[in-house]
Symmetry: C2
Subunit: 607 residues, 2 copies
Amino acid sequence: EEDGLWSPEREARVSSLCLPCAGAPSAAGGCRAAGQAPASPAASYPQKNAEILSSQYGINLFLAGLLLTFAWAVHAVGISKSHLLSYLITLMLIQLLWMLWYLCRSCTQRRLIRDKDTHAGARWLKCGITLFAVITLILDSFKIGYYIDFSNCLSPTEGIFPVTHAVHTILQVYFLWCHAKDVIQSFKTLERFGVIHSVFTNLLLWTNGVLTESKHQLNEHKERLITLGFGNITIVLDDHAPQCNCTTTTLCSVFSQGIYYLYPFNIEYHILASTMLYVLWKNIGRKVEHHQQNKTPFKFHGITVGMIFGLIVLTSTIAIVVVYLIQIGGSKIKSELALTMFYLHAIFVLALMCTAGVVALLIYRLEDRSLDNSKNPARKLDAELLVGTAAGSWLLSWGSILAIICAQGHPKYTWYNLPYSVLVIIEKYVQNLFIIESIHREQEKVNEDIKTLRIVTISRGSTLSLSPLYKEIYNGRAARDSGDIPCLFKGSICGRENDGAGVAREEMSQDNSLVMHSASDFSFYSRNSVTNNKRRILKNIAAFLFLCNLSLWIPPAFGCRPEYDNGLEEIVFGFEPWIIVVNLAMPFSIFYRMHSAASLFEVNCKT
Amino acid sequence: EEDGLWSPEREARVSSLCLPCAGAPSAAGGCRAAGQAPASPAASYPQKNAEILSSQYGINLFLAGLLLTFAWAVHAVGISKSHLLSYLITLMLIQLLWMLWYLCRSCTQRRLIRDKDTHAGARWLKCGITLFAVITLILDSFKIGYYIDFSNCLSPTEGIFPVTHAVHTILQVYFLWCHAKDVIQSFKTLERFGVIHSVFTNLLLWTNGVLTESKHQLNEHKERLITLGFGNITIVLDDHAPQCNCTTTTLCSVFSQGIYYLYPFNIEYHILASTMLYVLWKNIGRKVEHHQQNKTPFKFHGITVGMIFGLIVLTSTIAIVVVYLIQIGGSKIKSELALTMFYLHAIFVLALMCTAGVVALLIYRLEDRSLDNSKNPARKLDAELLVGTAAGSWLLSWGSILAIICAQGHPKYTWYNLPYSVLVIIEKYVQNLFIIESIHREQEKVNEDIKTLRIVTISRGSTLSLSPLYKEIYNGRAARDSGDIPCLFKGSICGRENDGAGVAREEMSQDNSLVMHSASDFSFYSRNSVTNNKRRILKNIAAFLFLCNLSLWIPPAFGCRPEYDNGLEEIVFGFEPWIIVVNLAMPFSIFYRMHSAASLFEVNCKT
């Protein structure tokens, strides 16, 4: 039973690669109870307190930063960008110190962090954050270059900030790679403060990125309005360019233009880091039951159809975005054409996604598998974030719908906005249902037994002696499963239970052809193919939706904002109020797409 | 063991008074399993889905309403107040229909709603909501009178709205009295939609009330600014008075003035109803363990000191508010005097509250009782609301602190704002810690045994035969308690366990003097008095803080807003941005005071 199965010890060995001084700490890793109080009710006493203490500290940290950001955004008297940057630099330095302390301590006292939450910090999540972090480092180097170019008229904080940020990024990614799965059981109060500090520091950096990006988008929108001749709106460009000349003329425009293409990745990086750290915080002091989670790596095999359709959507979206950004603001006709094209494409994609989601949900209704409701902070956060951030784009959609209904004049292209907005609402509604149900479905439990079986088979080098062994394991399993629920009503419930066992049986058979041959029941074949087909459809849908969500992340992240250019909402609500609504809701809408793509990737691996 | 103890059956009998047709349904109440599926994992399958389905529906309902409210607030083209009111009327009518259906069904099929969550819908909460509802009904009658007076120039919706609202209020309070504790186990999906619809309808009515109140406060503030001669701010009074003359001149001013003194109660009513309904929603389909919760009624005895100090604070606050509202806006000197007076009083009260909170927390540190971490949606919501709504006033305080630090000129009275703002942050920080720890502390478990004992004693009419019985129960209890946690380390943990048993022993003895005499251990007496003293101090602190929170609810609810009148923040952030921040954060800040008062009342009963 030793190899081939996932085990916490093995995970610890893998993560020990992270630690430069972890040459021979695995000896201490075996020692479990020494020096640590067991989880008695008395030990949980200060824990709730520490939770409230630290979360309140974090909230205040965040609110103070938020107000500084707000003050900068509204050009408050006496508060400049350098105040805000100094605050952020201080927070990052504190986090750096804490992370270094944590890394040193976990290096010297490895046995203290033995528990791991297998659900937290999935490998693809770590890969994603590393990718975004690398682009963030490029952004930081651009910012440093920009500062050098304009150093005459920029405050020193604008130079210190990207340097600190780069160091912070490197150490934080290293920290998350090695410790995202930790279930901290010692120094809980101090650790809670450190982790929550990191969570809110990242959230503030996210806010800062979002605001910079929003200001840039708003400036571009205002420039377009000037081009189109809307002189009746008081247009003031905000923080547009420094007040002095560039020292090295060639690179200036590269830096100042390039920065805004890199910001979307920086924004995603911080929000991802923030969620991973939040899960770490929720896990502090938790008692983890050692679920033997199956590692299901991503496979391209069997999802060709979904991938092809998804890639078509992806490429067409990129094409549309490029055309849109070139056309919009050129002239009134060009703008209207760009908008019409954008809406038609989006309506088509969203309708496809809705259909795919509904089909997936119908398939789920056909099979009656139970949901896993065990405690899992990472999954709970995922579900809450999906619904919470979808609210951002729902708000925008309701705004558009209201504007179309109430507006006096309707240029033709604005009518496309109505089905578009309705579809955005429905699509997120359906997709959330699909993702949340998928991540709550129980993993096929039987896999473990099958794997054990396979290992036993290989080690014995014989396939003939397998039949009785398999039967023994299988019967034991089935008895255990139905034993969980006492059969109170011989009719309906037990019937359902048997169905469940049937499904389990199918999946067993499909995973191991050896076993399938040794089984005598021939109905296996037909049932197996039905389940296989269902699984294949679900996998294709997940892959398709994954690529669609990635595609739909691109337009808003890179400045394709029909909510601005459409004009109708601005007329109904007024320019300022609508701009405020869009700037508040858009970051969540953008984050939704990236987050749902990440979740769909997980769904695809799990199905 | 039958009488004197709380039991679900008895609770069901009490609540059967609610139902006009519940003459003889208790026969059916005994029948448990008939016709209902047991809680198998398979049955929980559609439940998670129903939860997501309904919550997404509710969020969309809310967002659409929020945008209508926003559109009205920013005077959007083509959207008037009557649109918003029509939407609200529709929502209320749907909720009415659902509540009627639910009441009829629960009346005819009583056995379907047998489970009760003893933590939800506490009696004092129901009394509180009834009080607020009565005042809301007066507000509705005022609004009807106002509509009749100005019916020439008001749209019919302004007359229909208060009528619908009054009916809605009456039925909803009845519904909450009878069904707030329900744990719904049938028609779960439909019920979920009904309950979440009610939650968000109340939230929208709350938003509407908050906005009306904010507009009124802003108008008053602008009028004061005009009086004080600040002509440089563009002042436009918003929705100030109807465009036509009043038909009955005598009552007009009574109605239009009176409405704004009643709004704070209406606002509290809706948010309370919303939280109670949310707990009902969270409880749908839940498996309730039948905790035998002790009913601990509120007693005035033993909290005299806390009450006296609290009442002093309450009366002085009311006096300060009256003087403030008369003085402010009169002239510059009068305004400054009023502000200084307000700040000094608030600083004194907040300092006292901080001290009380810290003392209470230190007392908790002295005794080492374990926290109850069992599932309890009502308590979880309480804790989250305390921290979440405190964030509203923390935001305002950080705004003030930032403004004081960054402002160029400092009139003398503005300096009082700094300690005031800092104390607001610290006081809520400490108070939240105290309340959340208090509501998580385990009830003294031994009470049940003691009560049983008392009943046995009374029924036997003899005190002499008690000693062996008591010893048997006590020993059984102690063995059970220490049996829960295996004594792994003979040193520290078991020592602590014994301490816990000691505390239990003390409380037993204090509750029943009969038992105390039969016990041979004389150290009981001194330990008992220490625990009693601690309890008395805690009860006094809770009573004091309860009255202080009620007091601090009054100034912001009735228009005493130094955040406006102080002027410093408006200069630093700008008039418009600061007004937006205040109007967004203030409702949460006001709600915090009422909610913490309610929680402290519960703490007082439980201690």
